[in-house]
Structure formats: C-alpha cells, structure tokens
C-alpha cells in the first residue's frame, strides 16, 4: 500500500477552516515542523488544536497562534508562550486545559474505540466541573470522553510507504496516540525507507493508523532548555 505524498503541502490537502487537528510533540520535541509550516502558508483558520503544548512564540504551534489561525487549544501545559497567554487572557483564544495523562488517554481511547473512561486525575478540582463522578475501590473518579480529530499531524524518525512508524527518543511522546486518533493521519518522517527495511518487531505504530506519509526537510529540532553539565 503506497501512502507516500510528495511534501507537506500535498499532505495537508483537505484541511479546512474550523477543523479539529491533533498535533504531536512535547514542547518542541517531536513536533511536525513541516506540516506546521505548510499550515501557516495554507492559512486555514478557526482551527481547534489538540496538542500537549502550544509551542513558543516563534516556533511550533506558536506560529499558528501568531497568525491567529487557532480558535481553541486543548492542552495540558502552555507556559513559555507570551502570545498564547495574551490571547487567552484577552479572551481571543478559547483554552481547555486538561491533565496530561487524561489528554494522552483520551487520544488513545479515541483511536481505540473506547468512548469514555474513568480516571482519578482532576477529581475535586475545576477539571471535574460538570463531569460524572463514580467511586471505584473507595476512590472517586471522573468520566473523561475520548478525543478524535479530522486530521492528526505526527512526526516520526523513520517510516515506510505503508505508514509504519518508528520514533526516536522522547520525540515519541504524544505522536503514537494521536496517530491512532486521527480520521486522517499525516506522518512526516526524517527518513522514508524502502518497504522491508523496518524490522516489524520494532515498529511503534503500525501503518494501519497512517493515511499519508512523506519525508520532511530542513528539520530545525529546536531545543527549548539546553541544560548541560561541566566536564570534570
């Protein structure tokens, strides 16, 4: 099955105003840089973005925020982004903050056909407002619903024409669960390899979850917090 498209521009065909997108990555680690750049050029607006973070002012999803293309963010942590904070506090941007584990599991559930699940995270906090509470084993849990998206944009290290993906290091993060939850999942990879070159035993996301794949270019892979130790 050949799912290869030429580039990011071709890959994001069909993304329209008002759609819901999942965007993989944790901070700036493992984000689909090529697809984000192409989206800025495409200019689709009123987007709902489901992503753990919102990038920084001049990189990642911050680029879409600067361009006022995002109507609503669903995230767990949005620090380190002044434009985001400004748009949120002024009411221009709708923001739904949810616990990180619940975000990951809601994506996984969306991809796995589980409509909702109970979790203890957020019980007794404003996250639980309006949600059903049930006690299991003496402990209160809240009902969280699954998340899906019109498009999921993910980034992997290696992939093949069938859409099989392998991630590298902590750039894996939310990418696999989001790949599962997209109606159309676009994978951009650093290395697009020939079929058979990926060992089936080491594939992180089977190609069944991926509809379009391409080899990205000019990866910046910006580091947010460069921390080092001194050589002794």
């Amino acid at each position: 099955m050949n799912k290869i498209v030429k580039n990011a521009q071709e890959a994001i065909r069909g993304i329209n105003d008002g759609m819901t997108l999942m965007v993989g990555g944790f901070g700036l680690c493992g984000i689909p840089e090529n697809c984000i750049s192409a989206l800025v050029k495409l200019g689709a607006r009123n987007l709902t973005c489901i992503s753990n973070n919102a990038g920084v002012d001049d990189f990642g999803l911050g680029l879409l925020l600067q361009n006022k293309q995002i109507k609503k963010m669903i995230s767990s942590y949005v620090g380190e982004n002044e434009e985001f904070e400004r748009q949120m506090l002024s009411g221009e941007l709708e923001v739904d903050l949810i616990p990180q584990g619940s975000l990951a599991e809601r994506c996984r559930a969306g991809g796995a056909g589980i409509p909702a699940f109970f979790t203890p995270a957020g019980y007794g906090t404003e996250v639980a407002d309006g949600k059903e509470v049930r006690v299991f084993n003496g402990k209160p849990h809240i009902l969280e619903s699954a998340l899906t998206a019109d498009f999921a944009l993910v980034k992997a290290w290696k992939g093949d024409q069938n859409g099989n993906l392998i991630f590298k290091g902590t750039a894996r993060n939310f990418n696999p669960v989001m790949a599962m939850a997209g109606k159309i999942t676009i994978a951009e990879v650093e290395h697009l390899v020939e079929p058979g070159q990926l060992d089936p035993n080491f594939i992180h996301i089977p190609g069944i979850f991926v509809q379009r794949i391409f080899e990205g270019v000019h990866y910046e892979k910006r580091i947010e917090q460069r921390t080092v130790r001194q050589r002794i």
Binding site: G27, G101, A104, R222
Partner: protein
C-alpha cells in the same frame, strides 16, 4: 534554614532501594543529585522515559532526548522510552513509588494547589493532576513562605486545586512536616538552626508539635 539544594538533599534521604521515582520541575529535579550511597532508584519523566540520567556534556545535547521540564537529559544503561499514554499508565497504575513536586499552596488536609493563579498566571497542570491523584507517596518540596512572606502551609488552599487530600509529607526550607488526615501538619523535623517558634510563625495551617522535635540530620 535550608536552601533549594538542602531541601533536595533532605528529600533524597526518603529514597529507598528499587523505587521508581517521578521528580517535578524545580527543586524536585535537584533530588537526583543527592541519591544516598547504596541506594538504586530509577527516575521516570512523564514525557516518556525511565532511567533518566544527568544532563549531557556540552556538545552532546540531543533535541530528541528531553525531560518533562523540556531540559536536555541523558539515558542510563537499562533505560526505556515509551509514549505518553503508557507513561501515565505507569503513574495512574501506581507503578511509581514516589512523586516529588513543587507547590504554591498546601492545605493541612493534604490538598495541593500549583497550576493556576486566576487572572494572572495560567500555565496549566501538565502531569501534576494525574500524579497527585494516583501516587501513594507524595512529597512536596517548596519554600515555607512565599515572596511576600506569607505562609504556603494553609488551613485551606485559596488557589484552584491540583488535587485533594493527597500530600503526605512536605519538606521546606524550615521543616519536615507530615499531613495527618484529620489534625493538620505534624512537625517531624526542624531544619538546622530553626526553632519551633519560627516554624509555628511561618505556618498558617494547624500545626501539631509533639515534644522535642529533632533537627534534620544532613
């Protein structure tokens, strides 16, 4: 009185052999620098790694290898990488023995607030709500008072909660305190050179002082 590193050093004394430990951002991260001799623990970072090592040497930073604070890190031999959903399965499923995190406020019933100041600062809860709702052993590392000198150990949190009745122990620059389910903070140890009176003055929540309180052994 302890500094940030002193708080981390005292918390490191709580580590037990074979534990999996999640350290939050800030003072908790420093705990990894003070693992007692003969103790072997593995650090989990909720963005998806177990067996986290120290920061890399200059020139060896890898953009694809960061911790939950988005800092460049290294992996130790025997470490592993996984996705966010599996990471929180470890946390929610109580496979992690100790969680250390910072806080803006802790109440004397164990409530914690650390993610939002309405109208001012909204960074988000990240993984903190999952961690505090699930972990059996939660230690808060923080200064006893805020920048204005007001107590952060309160009768009730004033800020939006991160979790309810979950904090078991608080280690501050002044003291080690345990949260008793019904009676408030119980003073366990004093920081070097700090009097019981100073701790009482800096604690707004209910404080139990039973007899002589030993000084921390650093």
């Amino acid at each position: 009185m302890l500094d940030r590193n002193g708080i981390a050093r005292r918390i490191a004394q709580e580590l037990r052999n074979g534990w999996y430990v999640n350290l939050g951002i800030g003072i908790p991260t420093l705990v990894a620098n003070y693992i007692p001799e003969g103790i072997s623990v593995e650090f989990q970072s909720e963005n998806g790694l177990l067996g986290m090592g120290p920061f890399p040497y200059e020139g060896e930073e890898d953009a694809d290898l960061i911790n939950a604070g988005k800092q460049t890190v290294t992996m130790l031999p025997g470490g592993s990488i996984f996705d966010s959903s599996m990471s929180f399965a470890m946390i929610r499923g109580q496979h992690i023995q100790l969680t250390v995190l910072g806080a803006m406020e802790v109440a004397d019933n164990g409530d914690i607030a650390n993610w939002k100041i309405p109208g001012k600062m909204v960074k988000g809860m990240g993984g903190a709500m999952d961690l505090v709702a699930s972990a059996d052993r939660i230690i808060v590392a923080m200064s006893h008072t805020n920048r204005k000198g007001h107590s952060k150990l309160l009768p009730a949190c004033s800020l939006p909660l991160t979790g309810v009745k979950c904090v078991k122990r608080v280690v501050t620059n002044l003291a080690v305190l345990d949260v008793t389910p019904n009676d408030g903070f119980m003073l366990v140890e004093r920081a070097p050179g700090v009097s019981i009176r100073e701790i009482q003055d800096a604690t707004a929540g209910r404080l139990i002082v039973n007899g002589d309180i030993p000084e921390m052994k650093m």
